[in-house]
Amino acid sequence: MRQEVEKYSKPTRILHWVHLVSFCVLFLTGLVLFVPGLGIIAQDSWTRVIHRIAAAIFIIAPIIYIPLNWKATLRGIKEAFSWSADDIGWLKAAPRYYFLGDEAGMPPQGAMNTGQRLWWLIVLVSGVVFTITGLVMWFAKTTASAGVLQWMVFFHDVAFILAGAMLLLHIYLGVIHPLMTEAWKSIYKGTISSEYAKKHHAKWYKEVTRGKEVKS
């Protein structure tokens, strides 16, 4: 039997899925306002009601998660902002790796590789932007000035374009890309095999095993 190591704890996985599903709903119900031809299916506000329900889940989920998983939250936030020279190396080597499957130039990575950390940073920043601009548009629609409301839509759109495009990339890498064989399992079951961990997250693997080889 192959040795498995825990990659994501259960609360983290639940938060991931709740957030992903709510974000996808927000993405699709928001997209209908972006595509003039689709606007017609949003008539009578029903997509906007769903958008608000999903928004409430999107905002409340991390608010419940954070106090219950304080340490994981701090570690995660710290990780989003810790960048090193290895990240430059990763970015340089990434195209050869993702297109050609050539691992030669890839520096060893922590629990999250550079690309994952970049996405994680976008999730954090866009999440805050979405929440603030969204709440203003939702609850201050009749009280805020027209100028303020228009800029809120503007920044909501900027966050949408950035996070939306990166979400496609995230789903692609997690589910479709031929090399990411265990990414799906890590967030579904929570574990990855020690071989996959050694190959893809060498630094992190060393930390969790405290340098000891896990026998397979």
């Binding site: 606007g39 506000s45 939306g164 890309h177």
Partner: protein, 281 residues
């Protein structure tokens, strides 16, 4: 087709508010009347204006202004409703096409497909569209003057003039070809200037690409509470003309890039595998 328009001559208006009533009647905008009998205490707002503002059921209202230049009190009347801009902020931001330019130039509105986003309310340089809105659920519908083209109440398609124009006793409101009304308006402005109203002007000929409601005024537009040189807001332009096209490019390139990556990566990785398998056997 020749563009149509309404010409409002503020110097002929007697502020009878017949247009206001005709607008409500024709467009079936009956509303709750806030009287003492209906349980609403009467409020003195210091003006004959009533109701106090445009609303989802008030698409046209007359404004009253008292000014006292050189100590002489003047009582000015102004027609407040949709200006039917050529360069219309509301049409620019409407995501569903509910607000659109009629083939005769003015801004028509298909309420059925309104999503209630309220973008038009914030984009209008004249603060015209209004909506009933549930603040919690966000359910809303915008409303504004449709130039009497509301489906089943379409006077224009029947060859009639808008209800407000039809009812105007002093003919302060006129309906017709826009080019003819511009000529007529200019003639009246000249006559006013000849009479000593040196600030007289025709408002709406050039504003926002040309309004389809134009005003003959005997004084500066600002005196009548009209915005001087109204503009589409920078936020509207940044959002509609910059960010949205960028969004399409980013979205399109992402999807193309991922598809390309998949094809290349799969081919290369399969080749590597075959090499390994061949080496093993």
């Amino acid at each position: 087709m020749a563009e149509k328009a309404i010409l409002y001559d503020a110097t002929r208006c007697t502020a009878c508010r017949g247009c206001q009533a005709a607008c409500k009647q024709w467009n079936e905008n009956d509303e709750f009347i806030p009287t003492v009998e209906n349980g609403v205490p009467s409020v003195n707002r210091g003006s004959y204006e009533n109701p106090p503002d445009l609303s989802p059921t008030t698409w046209l209202k007359m404004e009253f202004r008292e000014i006292a230049p050189n100590g002489n009190v003047r009582w000015l009347f102004n027609r407040r409703s949709c200006m039917h801009c050529t360069d219309a902020g509301c049409v620019k931001v409407c995501p569903s096409g509910a607000l659109y330019h009629h083939e005769l130039g003015f801004v028509a509105y298909d309420k059925d497909i309104c999503t209630g986003c309220g973008y038009c309310i914030d984009a209008c340089p004249f603060q015209v569209p209004r909506s009933e809105r549930s603040l919690i659920s966000g359910i809303a519908k915008a409303d504004k003057c449709t130039f009497c083209t509301t489906p089943s109440l379409d006077r224009i398609a029947e060859g009639l003039e808008p209800a407000c124009v039809k009812t105007c006793p002093p003919a302060a409101l006129q309906y017709g070809d826009r080019s003819q009304l511009i000529a007529e308006g200019k003639k009246r402005v000249e006559a006013l200037i000849a009479k000593g109203w040196t600030n007289a002007n025709l408002y709406g000929e050039k504003e926002l690409g040309g309004l389809h409601v134009m005003y003959v005024l005997d004084d500066h537009p600002a005196v009548y509470g009209l915005p001087v040189d109204p503009q589409i807001a920078a936020s509207t332009i940044a959002w509609q003309d910059v960010i949205q096209p960028i969004g399409w490019v980013v979205g399109g390139l992402t999807i193309l890039g991922l598809g390309f990556n998949y094809l290349v990566a799969r081919a290369n990785i399969n080749r590597e595998k075959e090499k390994k398998d061949a080496a093993r056997s």
